[in-house]
Symmetry: C2
C-alpha cells in the first residue's frame, strides 16, 4: 500500500483552499503546477472550483475511490474525517495537520484515537504533523515544500518536516538529486521501518537518507537495515545524541530517544553510515550516489599546489585509508608529461601553472597503474588553470575507469564555479575542502568492508551451543519477580547450563558451615558476602581471598560481617559464600543491559579502573557470532594488555569471545533479563576463563 501512497494515480485533498498563502492553497498548487499527471480532487465544504479544478464538498461525492487522500484541516476535525474515509473504503492517507501527540495533553489522546481508526479500517497512514510526500519519478509534490527537487537516485525519509524543507532547499545547490522524499511526522501509522523496507526494494532509489529523532522498533529496524544495507547504503543523521538533546526531543515531538551508544552500536552492526551533521549527510549522499566505493585503501592525489596536497594527506591520516605508494616505473611514466619541478610522489604535484593536459596525463597514468583504488583530483584556481577543462577531463576519466573511485576538490569560490557546472551536469562528486572528500571516501570504503564481513557472516552459520538443564532454568526464571537478583546457586545453574566455567561456590549461613564447606572444597578459599543489597562487595569490605586454613576463615568471617555492617547497617545478610581460589590471570568484565529500543547490549572491557575510569569498553547488540565477539574483544584500546604487553604471556582471547557469545545467547533465551554482568571473568594464559562473580537481574 506504500507503493500506492507514494505513486498514486489519483489524489483527493481534504482542506483545499482558494486563498493564496494558506496551506490548503499552497499544497494544491504544488500538486497541480509541478507536473503531477494523475487525477486531482480538491475537497472543500464550499465546493467552489479552485485553481480551475472541480472541487467536491465531501469525499463521498468523488467519482472514484482515490488512491491517496491528503488531509490538511484543523486537528479537532481530523479524526472524524478519517473515520469517514475509512468507511468509504479509502486505504491511503497522509495527514499534514498538526495538533496531535507533539502538543501533549488532548493531542496525545487524539493520536491514540486516530491509531484505532486506521487500524480498524486497515489504512496506510503517513503523519500526522508532517510536510507531505514528494516523488520526482511521477513529478508529484504533495507537500508544502516549495518547488520540485532535481531528479536523482537519492531518497529521503525525515522525521522533521523543517529538516526536510532545509534539505530540499540545499539540494538545489549541492547537486544531489532526489527520487522520493517522505516526511514521517508523528509516525502514527507508517514508521521508518516500513519506509526503509520499501525503499530498500525501490529500483529508483540507490541511496537512502534519513533524518531520525527516535527509532520506534529497534529490533525490527536492525533486521531490516541489515538486509537493505547489503543492497544499498543507508545514511542517517540521528539527532538527540546528548542528554540535554534527549530532553529537547521529549518536549518537542513527544517521542522517546534511546541511549546514543545503543544507536551507534546498532548502526555499525547493520552497516548504516552515520552522518554527524546535515553537512555530512549531503557529502556522503553526493559521494555514494555518484560513485562506487573504493575496492581498497590506496588513495592517489593529484594537485596543482602543495598546501592542499598536504591538507588532503593530513585528512587521510585520520581515516582507515592510506596514501598509495607510487612505483618507480609509474613515476617514470608520470615524469614524461610533467615538468622537472613536479613532485612524482603521492600527492603528485603538477605545479601551479598546470594546464588541463598535465592533469590528464597524471590522472590517466595513475588510473592505469593498478597502484591506486581511488583518485582525488585537487585544483586551486591559479593564473593558467583551465578550470572547466580539468573538470571535464576528471568526469570523463571517472567514467572511463569505473574500477576506481574518482572524486575532486576544486577549492575556491567564483573562480572554480565553471567547474561546478560540469560536475553537476555529469553527476560527479566534487567537494570544496579536501578533508570532506576524504571523509566521504573513507565512509564508502568502510561500507564496502562491512558488506564483505556481512556476507561472510551470513555464509558461516554458527551452531549454537546446546543448553543443559533448560527446564530447571525456565523454572528459576519463572519464579523471579521483576527487579529480583539471582542467588549464588541460581547463578551456578545458569552458568553450568551455558558452559561458562565458574568456581563451585557454597553459601554458608554460619561460620561452622563455612568451615565445613571450605574443608570440602579444599583450602585456599575465597569468602564473599552474600547480600542482595550489596553489589560492590570489594568496596564494602565484603571479600577476603587466599584464606589458607580454618583459623584464618574464622577471623575473616567476623571481619567481613563487621565491615559490611559499617558499610550498610541495613543490608540483609544471607551468609558468606565459600569458593575455591581461581588461578591468577587478567580480570575482564562481560556485561549485558537491556536497551528499550534495540534489545540487549553486550559490553566487554578490562576490569577495575579500565572500565570505571577509562571507560575502555566495546558494545554489540545481541545476538552475536563468535567472530563478532572476537572483533569486540580486539577493539578495546587496552587489548595489548591481553595480548601480552611487557613480556607477559598472552591470555586466551578466543575463550573470552566464546563467553561473550554465550552471554548473548542467554539474553536471547531469557529476554526478561534486565542486567547481567560477569565481573570479573578471570582469564588465564592457559587454563581458560573463570566467571568469578556474576550478577543477574530480571
Amino acid at each position: 500500500m506504500l507503493k500506492t501512497t507514494l505513486a498514486p494515480k489519483s489524489i483527493a485533498f481534504i482542506g483545499a483552499s482558494s486563498t493564496p498563502g494558506k496551506l490548503g492553497f499552497d499544497i494544491l498548487s504544488n500538486i497541480k503546477h509541478l507536473g503531477y499527471k494523475g487525477k486531482i480532487y480538491p475537497v472543500n465544504p464550499k465546493g467552489q472550483p479552485i485553481l480551475g479544478l472541480k472541487t467536491y464538498t465531501s469525499i463521498r461525492n468523488l467519482p472514484e475511490i482515490p488512491d491517496l487522500v491528503l488531509v490538511a484541516i484543523p486537528a479537532s476535525t481530523v479524526n472524524k474525517t478519517i473515520q469517514e474515509c475509512g468507511k468509504h473504503g479509502i486505504k491511503n492517507i497522509t495527514i499534514i495537520s498538526a495538533g496531535f501527540k507533539e502538543v501533549g495533553g488532548e493531542g496525545v489522546q487524539r493520536e491514540k484515537d486516530l491509531q484505532n481508526i486506521i487500524q480498524k479500517y486497515g489504512i496506510c497512514l503517513i503523519g500526522p504533523n508532517c510536510l507531505g510526500i514528494i516523488n520526482t519519478d511521477i513529478d508529484m509534490n504533495a507537500s508544502f515544500a516549495e518547488g520540485m527537487p532535481n531528479k536523482g537516485n537519492v531518497s529521503l525519509i525525515s522525521q522533521s518536516g523543517a529538516m526536510a524543507v532545509a534539505i530540499i532547499d540545499w539540494a538545489y545547490e549541492s547537486g544531489v538529486g532526489f527520487s522520493k522524499i517522505i516526511s514521517m511526522g508523528n509516525k502514527a501509522g507508517v514508521t521508518e521501518n516500513d519506509l526503509l523496507e520499501y525503499l530498500g526494494n525501490d529500483s529508483k532509489t540507490k541511496v537512502i537518507l534519513m533524518y531520525l529523532e527516535s527509532i520506534a522498533d529497534g529490533k525490527n529496524f536492525m533486521k531490516i537495515a541489515r538486509k537493505v544495507s547489503l543492497k544499498k547504503p543507508i545514511i542517517i543523521v540521528k539527532s538527540g545524541t546528548s542528554e540535554a538533546g534527549t530532553k529537547a526531543i521529549s518536549s518537542h515531538t513527544g517521542s522517546l530517544a534511546g541511549s546514543d551508544i545503543a544507536v551507534s552500536t546498532a548502526f555499525e552492526q547493520t552497516g548504516i553510515i552515520r552522518a554527524e551533521s546535515t553537512q555530512e549527510l549531503f557529502d556522503f549522499a553526493k559521494a555514494f550516489s555518484a560513485q562506487q566505493p573504493p575496492k581498497g585503501k590506496r588513495v592517489g592525489i593529484i594537485t596543482n599546489a602543495g598546501g592542499p596536497g598536504i591538507m588532503a594527506t593530513d585528512a587521510l591520516s585520520t581515516t582507515t585509508l592510506k596514501l598509495a605508494d607510487i612505483s618507480k616505473q609509474t613515476q617514470e611514466k608520470l615524469s614524461k608529461g610533467l615538468p622537472q619541478t613536479a613532485s612524482l610522489h603521492n600527492p603528485v604535484d603538477v605545479i601551479g601553472d598546470a594546464p588541463a593536459k598535465r592533469y590528464q596525463h597524471a590522472a590517466q597514468t595513475l588510473l592505469e597503474s593498478n597502484e591506486i583504488d581511488s583518485l582525488l583530483v585537487v585544483l586551486t584556481p591559479q593564473i593558467m588553470t583551465e578550470v572547466k577543462k580539468v573538470a571535464e577531463i576528471t568526469t570523463s576519466l571517472a567514467h572511463q575507469y569505473p574500477e576506481q573511485t574518482v572524486m575532486s576538490v576544486f577549492m575556491g569560490g567564483e573562480s572554480v564555479r565553471r567547474g561546478y557546472t560540469v560536475f553537476r551536469r555529469n553527476h560527479f562528486p566534487n567537494f570544496v575542502f579536501p578533508s570532506r572528500a576524504i571523509l566521504a571516501l573513507d565512509h564508502m570504503y568502510q561500507y564496502a568492508e562491512w558488506k564483505k564481513h556481512e556476507k561472510n557472516r551470513l555464509r558461516k552459520k554458527e551452531v549454537q551451543k546446546k543448553v543443559l538443564g533448560r527446564k530447571k532454568l525456565d523454572a528459576i526464571f519463572a519464579s523471579k519477580k521483576s527487579g529480583e537478583r539471582f542467588s549464588p546457586h541460581e547463578i551456578e545453574t545458569l552458568m553450568n547450563a551455558y558452559g561458562i566455567k565458574c568456581p563451585k561456590m557454597q553459601l554458608a549461613k554460619t561460620e561452622k558451615e563455612g568451615c565445613q564447606f571450605a574443608k570440602k572444597i579444599g583450602y585456599p578459599v575465597v569468602m564473599k558476602i552474600a547480600s542482595p543489597e550489596i553489589y560492590h562487595k570489594t568496596d564494602a569490605g565484603g571479600i577476603r581471598i587466599d584464606i589458607e586454613n580454618e583459623k584464618e576463615l574464622k577471623s575473616a568471617w567476623q571481619e567481613i560481617l563487621d565491615n559490611v555492617k559499617t558499610y550498610n547497617p541495613k543490608a540483609k545478610i544471607e551468609g558468606i559464600t565459600i569458593e575455591p581460589m581461581v588461578p591468577i590471570g587478567k580480570e575482564v568484565i562481560i556485561g549485558a543491559k537491556k536497551d528499550p529500543q534495540f534489545g540487549h547490549m553486550l559490553m566487554f572491557g578490562l576490569g577495575g579502573i579500565y572500565v570505571e575510569i577509562l571507560k575502555d569498553v566495546t558494545f554489540r547488540i545481541a545476538p552475536i557470532t563468535k567472530n563478532e565477539a572476537m572483533h569486540m574483544v580486539e577493539e578495546i584500546k587496552t587489548i595489548e594488555l591481553l595480548k601480552g604487553a611487557r613480556g607477559e604471556k598472552p591470555v586466551d582471547i578466543k575463550n573470552i569471545a566464546e563467553v561473550i557469545e554465550r552471554v548473548g545467547q542467554i539474553m536471547m533465551d531469557y529476554p526478561q533479563i534486565q542486567e547481567f554482568e560477569i565481573n570479573p571473568l578471570i582469564v588465564c594464559p592457559r587454563r581458560g576463563t573463570f566467571a568469578v562473580d556474576v550478577n543477574c537481574i530480571v
Copy 2:
C-alpha cells in the same frame, strides 16, 4: 619597514609585460586598475609604455627611490637584480618569481645567495615564490590574485599562494572582509614572526588568520603570539599534521615541519585558535571578526523547528558551553508573546508558523533576562517564515545587546538567501549548520578564558626556586659529550640542586661493595643495574626490590647480572646501584624532550601501561608556572587515580606540579638537555614525591 612594504607610496614592478595573460601583465593590471593611488613604475628592458604607464628600462632610471619593488622575472636573473636594487638604496622588495629553495638543487643555493644579498643591504624581503601582497586599506592588490577582496578587519598571512587565492575566492561568498593579505612564499626574509608582530600592532586588523606549513623560529613565535593573543585572536590552519603529511611538505616546499603535538601545545599555551580545516578558518574568522566572545557558558537557543534545536543541543554537549537554564519568571514573560504549543524551555521553540514578531519577542526576552551569555537564532524556511525580517531583527538586537554574543543559523539554500544579504551588509555571523555556529562560539569562549588565565599568569610572577651548587652542575654539563647519559651520581647532584627528592643511591661495583652500601643505607633496599646501554631496566630483569638482607642481596646480585647478560650480551656493566626502598605510592612519569621548533616539551602521565599503552599524557612547553603544572596534572584522563579512586587516599598533586615546574626550570637552565625523564616518580598520600629512576641525556 614592513609598514612601508604593506603601504607603499610608490611601487616599481620589475618584470612588467605588455602581453595580457602573462604574470607581468596581470600583476601590473591589478595594481593599476583596482584603485591603488600611489605612483607606479613598470620596469622592462624594452621600455615601451604598458597600460598607459611610462615604463623604465632599469630601476636606476626611476625618478625616485620607490617604497616597494615587486619582482616577477625568471629565477636565474633575480639575484643580480636584487643586488642592483640594494646598491641603488631600495629597502623593500617582494619577489613573486619561483625557482628557489622549493625546487631543490641549485634553487637551494640561489636562495642562500639571495639571503646574503638582502642581509648585506638591509632589505625587507617578502618571498620569493609568493603570490604578492594585498592591502585593501589603500586599495592595493600587488599580487596575481584576481580582483579586490571585500574590505574588512581580518588579515591573512599564508605560506601557500594557492591557499591564499582559494581563501580570497571564498571570502567573497562567506562575507568575511579583509584588511591585509600577505603571501610569504619561501620566507627567505620576512617570516610569520615579523608579520604576526606587525599585524598585532596594526589598528586596522582585528583578527589574524594564518595558513602555515612550518614555523621557522618556534620560541620567538610563542613569545610574539602570547603578546598578540592578548590583543586580538590569532586563528591558524597548520597543515602537515600527519607523518605522511610531513613528508609531503619536505618534498614540496623544502621546509621542515615539526612534531604536531608540539604545535598544538604551543598554540594552546599562547592562546592561538587552531582551525582543523580551511572551513573552520572561515567559520572562526566570521565569528571573531563580528562579535565579542561570550562572557560565560550559558547559551540560549531560539528555533522555529524541533529538529535543528535538537541538533544545536547535541552540538553543545561536545563543547565547554552549556544550554542556559531559563527561569520560571522568564518563561512566563516568553509565554506572553508565544502560542500555547511553543516550548518555553531552552531551546525555545517558537513553532513553524512563527512570524518575525514572535522571534523578536523571544530573542528580546532572553537577551534581557540575564540568564544567557550568548544567543543562537535558528531558522528553517517554512511557509510563513519572514526570512528577511527575522534577519533584520537578529542583527539589530545583536547591536542593541553588545554584552551578549549573538549568532544565527538560517538553514537552507535559495529560500533563506534573502537573509544572507542582510547578514553580509550588517557584518553579522550567520551559519548554515548549528554545529558549525556552536563550534565557533565555543572557540570564542575558550579564547576569552585563555585571556583571563594569561592575565592572571602575568600578574602572579612566581619566584623561581633557588638552585644549589650551580657551579658543580655547570662543570658536569660542560664535561658531557652530545648524546651522553648522566651517571647515577650526577643525577643525584642534579636532583639535589633543584630540590627534587630522590632516594640516596650508591653505585656498587662489586657484590662486596653492594653489601657494605646496603648496610649503611639500611635494609630493605632496591638493586638496579647500572649500564649506559640498558634503559628499560625492568624489561632487562635489571631491577630487584625489597631486598631484606645480605643473603638476598648476594643471590639477587648474580641474578641481575645473568638477566642482563641474556638481555643484551654486549651491554657495558658499570655495577649495580643500591638504594633504600621508597614508600608505596602511585607511579607517575615526568619527562622532557627538546623539540627542534619550540624548545623543551614537558610531559606528564601515570607510569606503566598508562603511558605505554593508553598514551594518557599531557604536554606543555617549558618554562611553566606551578599553576600551569597543576592544570597539566589535572588534564590527564586518569586523574581520578591520583585523586583517590575506589576508596584510596588522594596523593599530593601539588607536589607533582612542583616537580614538573622544576624540571621545566632545569630545561631552561641547561637547554643542551635532549631528553630527560623521571620514571617513576613515586607519589605518596602524605610523604611527598620520590624520583626513583631518572634519565638525562645531553
